[in-house]
């Protein structure tokens, strides 16, 4: 499947990624390959088959509304690239 530049641009924007010209070419080739491979699924006859939404046959795996343990504040923040004593810090996003 052919991927054009504008599709790559759109996907890059949605994924918050940036590519240089060389990167775009490589990504185009990779994505085409992935999509071609996935296209094999089109050969399967799915007439009358309900879409599969989960791998399990279970239903109603529910939780009662009770409190569990919280992750300690310090542990929660531990892996953040940037933080202070209270908050996760991220590059400024303006709405």
């Amino acid at each position: 499947m052919k991927i054009d530049n504008s599709t790559i641009q759109k996907l890059a924007h949605l994924s918050r990624l940036e590519f240089d010209a060389q990167g775009v070419e490589k990504m185009k080739a990779d994505l085409s390959q992935i999509l071609d491979w996935m296209e094999q699924l089109n050969e399967v006859d799915t007439e009358g088959v309900e879409p599969l939404t989960t791998m399990s046959t279970e239903v109603n795996v529910l939780r009662e509304d009770v409190l569990g343990e919280h992750l300690p504040h310090e542990d929660g923040l531990k892996n953040a690239p940037q933080r202070d004593s209270d908050y996760f810090r991220v590059p400024k996003v303006l709405e």
Binding site: N60, V61, L62, E64, D65, G76, L77, D86, R89
Partner: protein, 486 residues
């Protein structure tokens, strides 16, 4: 400024999306607390933070709350529910997707009846109600280089109530929000506090020439933190969009933010860019199947709804629409009134008692009806006492009621006797007072006979004073008139 005659050639079309935070103890897909107002990033877990290898699990009560809202709005309840991932990248969404519902929302269709200030009734149709989770909270503080993120709110259960574009004025939108808030509070599924963000509203607003059947391009307005601001934003958009249309400028479908200080809206981003959420079924959650038994048990747990009580108060208790409206504003007051009416048949008197002294006492001390000291049986006795004329209405509310607040268990009749407040309604005891008054003001009597009928009020006041407020006004008026006309 837009000319009204031009504005009138346009029709305003409004659809509202209301997010209601559910009053569960724990979050939608994990057992962290939903409590508001704690230190940042303390109500978190690996699921909330979207750590790899974690699995969500649906909160049963949140499902039941969504079903309750659906039943209240007469929606069709979807029996087999699946969840969907809505993908977007924003710092307040740790997983990179929100678990929501896309195809097959838990409630399909439905209707919310609204009453406008002039008494007009209208039905606003619902498109759907679906379950989802809230995002974290980002703070963009002035002087800060970074954005600060708190994930306490991330994962708090929400229902999103989506209306059809059925509203045609800001008054209708306001009335709709009032009704939604009343419903969620009656159902006890959301505290309905818009200022604190537990109820949030986005408005889809468009205009079209009157008579046209196609809708105009819609603009979505966000960030209105009160019902009044929703109405203001709608008014502003109406004007702005008509001005654009009149100038021949195409209206762009976009998201705009409302600024409460200026009362205007400003563009946030063009919708086309971001509107690609690439929904797909959430593979981490198994379907939630709502059986007939489950649905029935939720149905049985439903409280009486405001509309039902409103109609009942007018039909069964013969109350005016105004009374029925005031009494059903909150479930607690409505149910208290219901309880009161099982002890007295003087419904209008009971209504006056609740709308007047009871409500002002509660407001003054910011108490809820649960804290009201006078037992309902006793208040009913007071209502009856006034209704049967044993005491006057003003004695009941101004003398007996305040005393009963301090002595809630006292029998009102015994109290009235003790305070010597029983109203005199027999002619024998009132007549001497009337004669006394007539004799005391011969010149006023002459004036009255000469045509100054307005003096009756002065005579009545004198009779009431001399009887210490105990004379039945009806009997006293009759006797006075007889004496004066002699």
């Amino acid at each position: 400024m837009l000319d009204k005659s031009i504005k009138d050639t346009y029709e305003l079309v409004i659809g509202l999306e209301v997010h209601a935070q559910l009053l569960t103890k724990s979050k939608m897909y994990t057992s962290d607390s939903t409590e508001y107002g704690n230190l940042p990033n303390t109500h978190i877990s690996v699921i909330t933070l979207g750590h790899p290898g974690t699995l969500p699990k649906v909160n049963k009560r949140a499902v039941e709350y969504a079903v309750k809202m659906g039943i209240a709005c007469n929606s069709e309840i979807t029996r087999r529910n699946i969840f969907a991932r809505k993908n977007y990248f924003y710092p307040d969404l740790p997983k990179g997707y929100q678990i929501t519902q896309d195809k097959g929302p838990i409630c399909v269709g439905g209707v919310v009846p609204i009453t406008l200030p002039d008494g007009t009734e209208k039905e606003v149709a619902l498109t759907r109600i679906h379950m989802e989770e809230d995002a974290g909270k980002s703070m963009h503080l002035a002087g800060e280089v970074d954005t600060l993120v708190d994930f306490n709110r991330a994962g708090v259960p929400l229902i999103e109530i989506v209306s059809e574009p059925d509203m045609r004025s800001s008054e209708e939108a306001y009335a709709y929000l009032v009704e939604i808030k009343k419903l969620v509070r009656y159902l006890d599924i959301c505290d309905g506090n818009m200022e604190e963000g537990s109820l949030r509203c986005d408005a889809n607003i468009s205009v079209r020439k009157r008579g046209e059947s196609a809708y105009g391009k819609k603009v979505e307005v966000k960030n209105m933190n009160s019902f009044r601001n929703v109405a203001r934003a709608i008014e502003h958009e109406f004007e702005r969009q008509v001005l654009l249309a009149e100038a021949g400028v195409e209206i762009v479908s976009e998201t705009r933010t409302f600024d409460a200080t200026t009362g205007t809206t400003a563009s946030m981003r063009t919708k086309e860019d971001l509107n690609d959420y690439r929904y797909f079924p959430e593979p981490d959650l198994s379907p939630v199947v709502i059986s007939e038994e489950w649905l029935q048990s939720v149905r049985e747990s439903m409280p009486p709804l405001p509309r039902f009580l409103y109609q009942k108060f007018m039909q069964t208790y013969q109350l005016p629409a105004y009374d029925a409206g005031v009494l059903t504003e909150s479930k607690e007051i409505a149910l208290y009134f219901e309880a009161l009416c099982t002890h007295t048949q003087a419904y209008k008197g009971a209504s006056n008692m609740v709308m007047g002294p009871v409500k002002s006492y509660l407001n003054e001390l910011t108490l809820s009806i649960a804290d009201f000291p006078i037992p309902v049986e006793n208040l009913a006795k007071l209502v009856d006492l006034a209704d049967t004329g044993k005491v006057s209405a003003s004695v009941a509310t101004q003398r007996l009621f305040p005393t009963m607040l301090a002595r809630p268990e006292v029998d009102p009749l015994a109290l009235a006797q003790e305070l010597n407040l029983i109203q005199e309604s027999d002619t024998a005891s009132i007549l001497p007072i009337v004669e006394e008054v007539v004799a005391a003001f011969p010149d006023k009597v002459a004036a009255y006979k000469g045509g100054k009928k307005g003096l009756l009020g002065m005579f009545m006041g004198e009779v009431m004073k001399r009887s210490k407020g105990k004379a039945d006004p009806k009997v006293a008026t009759q006797l006075l008139t007889e004496q004066l006309e002699k």
